[in-house]
Structures are given as structure tokens and as C-alpha cells.
Amino acid sequence: MRFVNRGCLVRGALYALLTLYLIFVLFPIVWLVLSSFKTHYQTLILPPKLIFKPTLQAYEKLLTGGMIKAFKNSLIIVGIDIVLALVFSIPAAYSLARFKTKLGENIGFWFLSIRMAPAFGVIVPLYIVIRNFRLLDTIFAVNISHLLLNLPFAIWLLKGYFEEMPIELEESALIDGATRFQALLRIVLPISLPMVVAVSILTFIFSWNEFLFAFVLTSSSGVTVPVLVASLAGTMRFDWPLMCAVSVGAMIPAFVFVFFVQRYIVRGLTLGALR
């Protein structure tokens, strides 16, 4: 909506409101980062000192205190998850987009329903299966569960993208004697690279941030970063700087990505509901 000739007063009020909201958004993040550079004693002082001598103590504790394993687990889980999600979702999405059948349409709709299901509902059956296979507390268990949640999402996004793509390019390749598989690999995929990248990053953010599944399925050796944050926040021995440092570490990867893929995020978050 563009109303250019609005009074200075309105414009000023808008800026004031925006500034208030931006402070509301940024203050917690800034405070978290600041506190991670404090000593334990400094975090306890109220009123808080705004100028203090920063220390890396909390980060040293994070590196030496055996917590790095959670970060390693998370990175491995996310990495494998992205590869598997792409390998399974690309052919599935392509087949749903190109061969229109009644069954295919229903499958597409079922995929959406998994997003509507309560997460702890999905985890009950999964927990029983994983327990029976004696795979609790392994990276594998977390990976399977994340794949389960990411696949429908990846398929839905890619399907929408493939459907919008002009079909002529593939058709001419098929007439020239290429197989479907070759057409997908050589023609469709290179054009869809932006969406493939976006799907990878959204998978990354989802898997990196996911808490409930990792929490229920692991107890010690398979723990991920969010589980670590929650378990630190749940203990009674509050080591605030350490908790802040771990939280900062947990935020960094997603923040790095967002600056690259902002425009895909809307689409990803809304599951392509808006084009």
C-alpha cells in the first residue's frame, strides 16, 4: 500500500513503533551474547553493569567440558539428513509433479497431514519401533525421526517447483532419446538448483532446531544441541554464562544461512501455500 503524501506525524509515529518492536526483538539476543562473555559472578549482579571486562571462560568451558559432542552429533545428523532428504524427495516430487494420477494427488494431500499431526503423536509409534530395534540413544534414531518429518516437507516444496517448470525442455530431450532419469538428472535438476539449495537449508534449520524427537529418543551419547540447552537450563546449578554460550553456539548456524536464503524462507515456512 503506497500512500506517499502522508504527514510527518504519521511517519514519525510509524518509525517510533517500529523502533520499539526492533528493541523487543533484538534485546534478548544481544543480552544473551553479552552474558556469554561474563563471569558467573558478573551475571548475578543487579543492576547489571553494562561495561565489564569480557572473558572467554564460558566458551572455554564449552570446548573442554565434553559439550562439543552435542555439536558434533547435531552436525552429523543434519548432514546425513540433508543428503537423504534430497535423494528420496527429488524422484518422489518429480513423479508426483509429472504423472498426474488420482493416487498421486491423494499422496500429496497425505503429506500435508503429517505436518498437522501433533509431534508427540508421531513420536509414540516411532519410539516403540526404535526401542524394539534397540536403537535408542543413537544418532541413527534421531536421524530417522528427522527424515520422517523433513521428507514430506521437501517433497511438497520440490513438487510445487517442478510443476511450475516448463515441460517443453524435458519433452524435447525425451524425443531425442533420453530416458526419464537422464532428463531429470541433466535438465530438470540443474534448473531447479535454487530450490534444491533452499530445501537443503530449510532441512538444516529444521533438523538443527528440532527438540522433542531428539529429547525423547536420546539420553546421553546421541544428544543434540537443543537437548543440551534444555538439560542445562533444567539443572539447578545455574551456570548462566555457560548456558548463554551454548545458546549462542546453537543460534549461529541458522543465522549464517538466513542472510543467503531469505527469499526462500517464506515459501519454506508456509509450505508453498502462498506463491
Binding site: 503506497r2 543480552w31 547489571p48 508427540f120 520422517l148 525423547v216 546453537a250 502462498l274
Partner: protein, 280 residues
Amino acid sequence: MREQYKFLLPSLIVALVVVAFPTVFLFYISFHRWIIFIQGIEFTGFGNFYSMITSREFIKSLQVTLIFVVTSGLLTFVLGLALALILSERLRGQGIIRTIITLPVIVPPVVAGFTWKFLLNREVGVIGGYLLPALGFQKSLLGDPHLALGSVILADVWSRTPLMFLILLAGLQAIPTEIYEAARIDGASYWQSFRKITFPLLKSAIIIALILRFIDAFNLFDTIFVMTTGGPGIATQTLPLLGWKTGFLYYNLGEAAALAVIMLFITMIVSLLLVRRIRQ
């Protein structure tokens, strides 16, 4: 023809594994007495559903969930819409402002919960321990049943407003500017063109935003778990927390599955009611 089926096969297998299996198995579990560490799985019909629905904790959790979903949903919607309207004006520094507004949605919810727990803490938090007491407010935010629910809502509004903002902004940007120019030439005021142009054209985006937000808030677990774990008492225990407690603290998987089925039906009914409004 054969090639077509070869290509449909992957999506079929994926659908079976990803969707069909968990759903069917979930329904199966919900009709059985299924408690870990207790031998024997028995068919109980609607037994799990009955004992879940008639328990006092369920009623209380349903109330808490209702308050949480409605309050947080409305607040995020109003804030998101206001921000989207402001940012579709021509402003200086638009790009950077948009990025900052978006940030909280990619902060892991666990971290968002922890951060607000830290800020609102009565002993060491800047807000709960310093700012509010300095203003004469002495109560502990996370220790008082009513205030704790408010605090959880505050953290959720912080972390989820960007989602509403992004969806509504995308909806606003899809409205062609020519319509507004024509309206202005005809002498329409800002409020008139909002009511007669923006609102009707934004309706489907609004409903999609509300559906996604409803599903999101109805199933929210991590933020509340980190901030209060449902406490004090069960003052902030929403249905997902009750489900987690039933299934993974008391190991009564049958009842947890029954609750999940109930929640699935509630989600479907609410979404369908909202979707029907788009069609009209």
C-alpha cells in the same frame, strides 16, 4: 507406461513409510493398553480415550491450551499484520529492518525459551529481577501461575510473530499497486482502501496464516518445556506437555496415543472450518 510406474514407486514407498505407517500404528496403539515395563498389550477399545477425557488434568490442560492458543495467536496475528502493513510502505532501511524482524523465527525455540527464562528470572534476570522490581512490581513472573502463562505467551509471541509477518507481507505484496492508485485518484482515504481493497484481497493469506499459526501453537512443546516444564503445578501445561508426560514420564503410551488422536481431530476440524472460509 512402465517407466511412469517406476518413477511413481519412490513416492509410494516414501508415502507408505512416512505417512501411512505412523498414522495407522498410532491409531492401533491408542486402542490398546500399552504401558512400557508392564508386560502384555491388551485391546481396550475406547478405554484410553475414556480415561484421558475424564481425567482432571486433561480438562485443565485443555483450558490452558485454549487460553494459550487464542491469546498468542491473536497477539502474533495483530503484531504481524501491523508490521507487514508498516513495512509495505516506503521506508528507509527496509531490507535490514525486515531481516531483524525475521530473526527470532530461526532462533531454536529451546534457546528462545531459555533466553526469556533468563530475562524474567526473579533473582538474576534484567527484566524480572531488576526492571520490574525497580518499577515496584515484586512478584516472581515464572513462579506465579497466572503470570507464568503470560510469560510463556510473551516468549511465544517473540519467537512466532515473524512467521505471521512473513506470510502477511507476501500476501500484501501480491496485491497490485495500480488498485491503490486508482482508489487514491477517486479520493479514497487510507482506512477506506484498507477496508475495501487490502482486507478482502488479503483474506486468503490471513486464513492460511491463521491455520499455520493454530497448528503451530496447538502443538508447541519446546519453548514451554524449557521455560516452565508445565509448572508451577500444571499452570502452563498445554496438551502436548500432558502428552509427553503421559507417554514418556509415566510410560503410558496407549493414553498418550489416544490424546494424540484427539488432538489430530481437533486440528483437522479447526483447519477445515478455516479453509471453508476461504472458499466462501
